[in-house]
Symmetry: C2
Subunit: 344 residues, 2 copies
DNA sequence: CTGAAAGCGCTTACAG
DNA sequence: CTGAAAGCGCTTACAG
């Protein structure tokens, strides 16, 4: 009922080797033979069995993606789609391993459940450490990183430059005359595996440090709370002196704010400038000034490099930094007293 | 270097059959033997080879998901995560097949590239027709649908009731006193594969039909345009008489509107009520009245049923309708002249 | 509860 | 360009 390579060989009057080659290396079989085989395969509704091909050829045709994010977010959704767009047509499945907490992390890197069962691993925005990378390397397969803390140990990495991005943001605010700037972030203690939250705050503080007349403050709230936006609002409104600009860790934090601030009598950008990070869903429509990045491109580049590494070629360059830019829109403006003086 | 089941058998002093059973059916091997095997496996960094297991056991440990959506959206991202959460721990990979246009659709259902290579197929929000379902069934594997046009031919389906949902929405507006209601949707001619866009409009029109004093109108715009929100705005503002309420096909359409309408001098909900559909990202924060649905639950239920069907048990019930509810929030209010009279 | 053995459906050197 | 043949690493009836 389900036909095998033997059935096709018989029907086409060739050997199974030829049938196999017709699918795996069509260039080495003659046009005439190829046509015969293809016709027979079609008549018999034949597909190559991936499991058999995998077993014999010592490949798994699977690529693992490691991530720590529990919920559906814009960044990961775009990464996944881009990976699938490149890897699927090339014959690879993507298996997503979500590591949600310290126990899972420990278990994963100790057991390495992927050993022998994937052809490459992509580490996505995960705060992986040196020992963990070493463990991964024991599998003797390519290891590719997307937004990882360091490129050390990786066969290829694709990242954005958080520091440069934050510098763009802070310089823009400084140019406008802002001197009191708040950074809003979720408490990283709650999300120890997610890379970039901590980094981004550090980048903000460093960027402010370039200007000795600029006072950065930080508003930290617990992560994944339903009322995150209310907490932030409350903290901001009670700060004294009130900062003239708010840099948010991501658009997802900024968008609720630009909706709610006016309802608290604080006009955006007249009374306070608000900035996001990502240029994600709705950012353009709500005119949010933000840093544009493209997880889709990060994903494409990562997938392409993964494929190259599997085929044994070294991607050029091995470590790529994708450019970001400041999407200048309507939520930033000069502060009310734009003389650069503090009004305290 | 890479150890096989033979190495483990030798080290543990048992047969390969016992090693195999230790992993696939641990209940049938004695505690003592199991411990020996597990220890040997650990010492040798051994994992079962999926390809070999798959080949011999005539399973592929893969589940296909068919979808037509090109871009990352809230619904699909949540579906994917839920499917992965259930299927991955059960040992199944998910391979996502995206069918973007008529040619791909034709090719896919004619060739059935998954034949012999997946254990089940999940059809997600795809406007699949009877012939296509028949084709799928030729593979002799379970076929599960999420939001498909009809449950006919499916081994299991999970859906929401679009009609009932839309009735909730329209009745709420009618109760408030609205009689002129617009439905905003993207042009389905551009997206012939996506199921639910057309259906939702039909549901809206039917729901309005329940009230003979209510006049529905439709604003249709091309899909996936960058300036979709501006087109809608322009159409709405030039309509005469201007509807007192706008029902949007999804939150993604509604959210830009509730941001932009006030900037055109139209206050929400004072001058116009706006409703979404989904209860997706930011809906709560921007106080959008909308229909709540949970793609996560749809995904979990679909995955659970898929697993049951693979194991040969029939899910109960086979066809499940997930409840939705009206999330009553701040973007709906009585129309300005709430006497139910038309002011034309 | 455990073992010996057949075989799942391919790929790939090797030979011609 | 094509074929004969070995074997990838498991699972699973069957026997004990």
């Amino acid at each position: 009922m389900k036909s095998t390579i033997h059935d096709v060989a018989e029907k086409a009057g060739v050997s199974v080797a030829t049938v196999s080659r017709t699918f795996s290396r069509p260039d080495v079989v003659s046009q005439t033979t190829r046509d015969k085989v293809l016709q027979a395969a079609k008549d018999l509704d034949f597909n190559i069995s991936r499991s058999a091909a995998a077993l014999k050829s010592q490949q798994s045709f699977r690529v693992a993606m490691l991530t720590s994010e529990a919920h559906a977010n814009w960044f990961n959704a775009n990464i996944s789609i881009a990976l699938n767009d490149v890897l699927q047509p090339a014959g690879y499945d993507i298996c997503t391993y979500r590591i949600a907490n310290a126990a899972e992390r420990q278990a994963f890197f100790a057991d390495l459940p992927l050993r022998r069962n994937v052809d490459a691993v992509i580490v996505n925005s995960f705060s992986i450490d040196g020992d963990e990378i070493s463990n991964l390397k024991k599998m003797n397969i390519p290891v590719v990183g997307i937004n990882v803390p360091s490129s050390a140990g990786f066969d290829a990495t694709i990242s954005i430059d958080e520091y440069e991005s934050m510098r763009l943001l802070v310089r823009h605010l400084h140019d406008l005359g802002h001197r009191d700037i708040s950074f809003v972030c979720s408490n990283s203690a709650q999300a120890p595996l997610r890379y970039s939250a901590d980094l981004r705050m550090d980048a903000f503080l460093r960027a402010c440090h370039d200007f000795d007349d600029t006072t950065p403050t930080v508003i930290r709230v617990p992560r994944d709370k339903e009322n995150e936006d209310e907490l932030i609002l409350s903290r901001f409104l009670t700060q004294s002196p009130r900062p003239t600009a708010i840099c948010c860790q991501s658009d997802a934090t900024a968008i609720p704010l630009i909706f709610k601030l006016p309802r608290c009598g604080v006009s955006v950008p007249r009374d306070v400038s608000v900035l996001g990070f990502d240029d994600s869903t709705y950012a353009r429509q709500v005119e949010l000034t933000t840093i544009h990045q493209s997880p889709e491109e990060l994903g494409y580049e990562a997938a392409r490099r993964t494929l190259q590494l599997i085929q044994g070629t070294c991607p050029e360059p091995r470590h790529l930094t994708m450019e970001t830019y400041l999407a200048l829109r309507g939520t930033t403006a000069p502060p009310r007293s734009s003389n650069g003086q503090r009004n305290d």
